[in-house]
Point group: C2
């Protein structure tokens, strides 16, 4: 039976009109592993692999984590995922490269 | 040899003055697994386990992902991690529960 995470990975792939082969080529993950992952045939998923998939699809890892806990497995729209990822990358850039406005300013903007 | 991820997990734990036993009790992960993880004795780390650790420490999964790629393994300060996690949770709440200001408004604030 497909796991919530497997279902979401398949949904994302279909939405982008990609074949498993395309994801395998784009990530370096084997076709077999990807197929098992989507079908829910793996008991445990590797963090490294999920990080590669997250980068490939442009989806935050923290989004995928919601699909491990079954009760929270509502897929988001393309736009919502894209916004979350953009904000995530913006925050990461602010922290790591101290570009532009300071993190504290971002924080103040969000919470005021 | 400790991996960058293992070193960072140990650093976080020391910073909070926790023993491995405390992390094991708080997460439900076995002492042995946690010890191997910090020492870098595991080839692959489970995504599910990292999600539990992320929740326990209040650290975004996307932060931990940086430590898989060795070149990006700069630890952040407590405050920076806390800010990132807060923003992350804020965004997640906005998306999942549509509370308060809309995501697009947040996005506009950050990027203007």
């Amino acid at each position: 039976m497909p796991t919530p995470l497997g279902q979401e990975l398949r949904r994302l792939r279909f939405e982008k009109n990609l074949r498993l082969e395309d994801v395998a080529n784009g990530t370096g993950i084997t076709l077999q592993y990807l197929s098992m992952l989507e079908k829910g045939d793996r008991k445990s998923v590797s963090f490294e692999i999920m990080a590669d998939i997250s980068r490939f699809y442009g989806v935050p890892l923290d989004y995928f984590a919601a699909f491990i806990k079954e009760e929270q497995s509502q897929p988001l729209s393309d736009v919502e995922i894209m916004l979350w990822q953009s904000i995530n990358e913006k925050v990461r850039d602010e922290i790591y490269y101290k570009k532009g406005k300071s993190l504290k300013a971002i924080f103040a903007k969000l919470f005021n």
